[in-house]
Amino acid sequence: MTRLLVRGARILGGHPADLLIEDGVIRQVGSLGAAEGVEVMDADGLVALPGLVDLHVHLREPGREDAETIATGSAAAAAGGFTAVFAMANTSPVTDTAEAAERILDLGRASGLVDVVPVGAVTKGLDGAELAELGLMARSRARVRVFSDDGRCVHDARLMRRALEYIKPFGGVISQHAQDPHLADGSACCHEGELSGRLGLPGWPAVAEESIVARDVMLARHTGSRVHVAHVSTAGTVEVVRWAKAQGIDVTAEVTPHHLTLTTDLLVGYDPVYKVNPPLRPQEDVEALRAALADGTIDAVATDHAPHARHDKEHTFVDAAFGMLGLETALAVISDLMVRPGLLDWSDVARVMSTTPARIGGLPDQGRPLEPGSPANVTLVDPDREVTVDAAVSRSLSRNNPWHGRTLRGAVHTTIHRGTVTHSTDTTVMETAS
């Protein structure tokens, strides 16, 4: 049985302590001595966080294994400090049955690098017409709790209402891709504003997101159910969510690292690497999102990791695929953007990237405090290391990385998933105590 002593890590950025990990569980925390047969990892200067949890990734398997597989996506996740990821349902075939969900669970377990948690489709085939077998997915070995038609909006109000009601007995949540398809159809690809006007690109107005979120929080109130807003991108959505929370409505929200950082003006050169849904928004929205993450209105960071084969991005801007990579860079972006300027401290990062997403997604083994008895899901972060992102270096099969060339401060050092080191930037720090 492996025993691992992580020595001197600052827990949530606080005082240094040692963590003894045995049989996949944190056994002791404190000032500990090395015993025989214990591997020792020197974590001096590193910050220890509970393993990161991503509520929103696209792993492309089954269907587009040329762009990503559960194995490669898991490797990217581990490299990014994640110990659990929620795999969206828009695969081919769609994850809309218990069998499909269990298959993803099993493929994730076979890879063994992170917990791969299937998200179930809300509607059969993501068609927005009939409910998928939500209950069977919930009762399956995959224990599906998060349901989403992500990529598409559950835009029929009656269907959304029924879905919210139906998932209550098993504590489910609907993660809504908020996009009114009449206000922003499939061609919409640029934030509607001056730049979309100048570039002649189909506009994706903020109101297409905000009006759905406003409707959904009212439906959540009406049904007494739980709704989660995927990839919030506008200041108006933040206002709606803030209001809804003040009313006691059971709503949570996530934001992506790219919506916290990148802005619409990157589209000037029509480079499809910046094409994402919802689109990159202007600076005012970006700032509102940062503030909302800092003040807790937005509950979680989720990457919306969306790998694409190179040729699917080398079309004209309107025809190119939506989405960008995110798993490997998320922590560095949040560190550089939110921690360095003091908008979040490391315990906040633990909250928005681990504890809260684990709670929203119903994962009892994830996002637990770093104390004896907790499953040993741990992410060690080097808060001072600067990394320059190189799109060519990635565990993902895809290269649609919008962060290429950026230098970010703060990097994942080591990821421990259920007691096993699944990623480390520096293998020399590991030595076996004699």
Binding site: S196, L199, H315, V318, D319
Partner: protein, 344 residues
């Protein structure tokens, strides 16, 4: 001027004026019996049209042929989709044939910008989606200048479906470059998003009221009517053709009022015209209409653009004076303008 012509914003005032001056020489050529000059002999120009076009494609083809370039027309149906060849593969395939220029018409905004990043040849934007159409703006400027002279301070009104118009986007840039005052008119649903900020930054006026502009304090020197596609009605941009015409059409009544105020007013339309919708037959056919002048200028302007892009980028750059020699010679075939080292 760079290697490419992708946007009207690529051209400074001097460059626009240079091209238009060259176009004048080219226009003279058009009136001669033998129209061919050897200027671009040995050069290959591909007209790659991903979208149907009659006048733009034929005018680029004629322009290339009259300058002795080998011109080849390619067309591809519809937009590239994930099922088809990627735009990059298409562009690289053409570029691998060592062509000199790629004239691209595409139904997707930005397609020419993307292609220009991948290829070695010159790229000329012959209309990309709802973005730009820089040679149209040049030929419109040519047409206006041939009647009005210097455009400094002239008032040009552009009316119609601005949202979907690449003609508007390029024209507003080139007209401002040449010092004209521009007012654009459309119902709110056909105004591009963010136009309030955009017009303030770029210095043009906007209005929802055509009559207020035509009858306003600022006399109108030219009116450019844009094509309104009937399918916009199904998109809910306006209720009926009749209502559009009443609000925004260049009707006989509006023509009469324009001419009464300014007998020299010019009527432009990039074509194809929807007679009876955005422009009445009386206006299209009136003595003030320069619609056919625009078409005629199209060839000369595109010759000038090809000349400036291609004749300037080889080992033996030639001055426009040399071209002058060729175009003023008694016989084009005798003109001594064969450039050195044309083989590439």
């Amino acid at each position: 001027m760079t290697r490419h012509l992708l946007s009207s914003a690529d051209l400074s005032r001097t460059e626009v004026l240079d091209i238009l001056a060259t176009a004048e020489s080219m226009h003279d050529l058009q009136r001669r019996e033998v129209k061919k000059v050897p200027t671009l002999r040995g050069r290959t120009v591909i007209n790659f049209f991903f979208e149907d076009s009659t006048r733009t494609r034929s005018s680029f083809e004629i322009a290339g042929k009259w300058m002795s370039a080998d011109t080849i027309n390619l067309s591809a149906k519809g937009s590239s989709t994930s099922k088809g060849e990627s735009l990059r593969d298409t562009a690289m395939t053409i570029d691998a044939m060592a062509v000199d220029a790629l004239v691209i018409r595409h139904n997707a905004s930005g397609a020419c910008h993307q292609v220009a990043q991948w290829v070695r040849c010159s790229v000329i934007n012959a209309g990309d989606g709802t973005h730009e159409h820089p040679t149209q703006a040049l030929l419109d400027a040519y047409t206006l200048r041939s009647r009005l002279g210097d455009l400094d301070g002239k008032h040009v009104v552009i009316v119609g479906d601005l949202t979907h118009s690449r003609v508007f986007r390029s024209n507003v840039i080139t007209l401002k470059t040449l010092g004209a005052r521009v007012t654009v008119v459309a119902p709110p649903t056909l105004m591009p998003s963010g136009i309030a900020c955009w017009s303030a930054t770029d210095g043009f006026a906007t209005s929802w009221d055509l009559d207020a502009v035509l009858d306003g304090e600022d006399p109108v020197d030219a009116v450019m009517m844009l094509r309104v596609q009937r399918e916009r009605m199904s998109g809910g941009y306006f209720p009926t053709a009749r209502e559009y015409t009443v609000g925004y059409g260049l009707t006989r009544d509006r023509l009469d009022r324009l001419v009464a105020r300014n007998p020299d007013v010019l009527i432009l339309h990039p074509g194809p015209m929807n007679r009876g919708l955005e422009i009445a037959a009386e206006a299209a056919d009136s003595a003030r209409s320069v619609v056919l002048d625009q078409v005629s200028a199209g060839v000369a302007v595109r010759m000038a653009v090809l000349y400036h892009l291609l004749a300037g980028n080889d080992d033996a750059p030639r001055e426009p004076a040399e071209l002058e020699t060729s175009t003023t010679g008694a016989s084009a075939t005798a003109a001594p303008t064969q450039p050195e080292g044309v083989a590439r």
